[in-house]
Amino acid sequence: MSPDIRDEAVEMWFGPQHVSAHGWAAKLTVVGDFIVECDPHAGYFHRSAEKVLEFRTFKQGPLVLERMCMLEAFLAEYPYISAVEQIAGVEVPERAKVLRTIMMEASRIHSLQFWWGQFSAELGLFAMTLWPWVDREFFLDTFEELTGSRHAVSFSTPGGVRYDFNEKVLKKLDRALQRLEQHLPKFKDMLLRSPTFRMRTKGIALFSYEDALRWGLSGPNIKACGVPMDLRKDWPDLNLAYDLVDWEVPVVDNPDHPGQSDAYDRMVQRFLEVETSINIIRQLLPQIPEGPIVDPKARAKTNRLPAGEAYGRVEGTRGVTTVWLKTTEKAQTPYRAKIRGPCFASYYSLKHLVPGSTFADFIVVFGSLDPYPGWWDR
């Protein structure tokens, strides 16, 4: 920033009271209608989750993790469980693997439906806010029927899962999927062909995959640049059932700017993610094997773990979510747990993405990266 611009510049805060900024705040330096500097601040949601984990047993730990991001609770609790299972060296029953995978994909769909609504509301398209959220209710009903809770599900546990599928759950899940399959083409049409939406998102927040790698972005943000980076394929998990399914990593390659993605491409990418998730669930539903949902011996093994360390990871809705766990001999609680949320990287990439854009586009840039405050304030 040259000195003469600095004279005209005005510093202003976006959040934390702003309606679009619930629990985060960025300091913007504005010249006229243009933003020249963006300084994102973290810390408004800080709950010392990593320290809390050091005082919770291995069965209580997932409860903390699922509260990191309520929208993808099934996915958020998994990295911790994966790390515990790796240290204990246990394998879960086949039925539990399939149930976990189905519910994780359902959770991904639910989280993305919420994001369509949120992003559309930020752009002022309120029809597209409420309609997907009606369909989202059907997924929440499924979660409630399965686990007894709509958001804080606590479904997986070291050694298996806690709740079994029954007729009612299958019926509700099928109804939710049917409804979404019926409405998805309509939503796609409504949003992607809307002139308002195209004008607000095309060419906004354009970055290449080199930039994305440098900033540490992952998930749909990097897949929209044409890079098929997906932990479900790249790091096959023994305790999940993705190997039973025939699927491809969804990738958007826009011919207008190959290797780069803008806000519009990321929207298309998230529609593809939902289609892939529906495909995975539809293929897994007839393949649910009979048998126990939890292995009591494996579960008992996780009461006290041997000394060791493990890196549990999962491809979350917003990107790579990991937990690094270190234990000491015969430990009931972890010695140290380090959470890597996907959104810390996407939040701080605003520093590079926002300068140069207009003030009205700031929230489009922010929303297109789908950050969730719970993931950057651990």
Binding site: Q60, L63, E144, S149
Partner: protein, 143 residues
């Protein structure tokens, strides 16, 4: 042709009006009526003292220290004086899972509003009684 098109539009509007007039509302007239909660709903607990052995597994399983057993309290049968603190409880269900004597269960009662914080500290007598039926307590049911 224009006439038929206008008539068709009027018919479509009338169809919507009739449908909206006679359709059921999507909202509930809370608190006089409520939705049906699933069987597995993790609401407030109920303690069955006949089955309880005061082993304390629920206390150990609780991640937020919401349960307390007062073993020195001789007033209650088998010394099982179970105190529940609903200002702390997160309804994770680990205590119900830890109980192997079928002495602790969730109920579908989820509205625990009280006039004060102290009223949410359930004492041993209150935690073993349901002062109302989970679905019927509100008296008026519209559907």
């Amino acid at each position: 042709m224009g006439m038929i098109r206008v008539l068709g539009d009027i018919f479509r509007v009338l169809k919507h009006i009739v449908r909206q007039t006679f359709s059921r509302p999507f909202t509930y007239f809370y608190p006089f009526e409520d939705r049906e909660y699933p069987e597995r709903t993790r609401g407030r607990h109920i303690h069955i003292r006949e089955n309880c052995t005061a082993c304390g597994q629920c206390v150990r399983a609780c991640p937020v220290v919401a349960i307390r057993i007062d073993k020195s309290d001789r007033k209650y049968e088998k010394d099982a004086a179970l105190y529940f603190d609903y200002t702390r409880c997160i309804f994770c269900g680990l205590c119900v899972e830890a109980c192997r004597f079928n002495a602790l269960f969730h109920t579908p009662v989820v509205d625990l509003s009280e006039p004060s914080r102290e009223a949410l500290h359930y004492d041993p007598e209150r935690i073993e009684t349901l002062e109302r039926e989970p679905l019927e307590w509100r008296g008026r049911r519209f559907r």
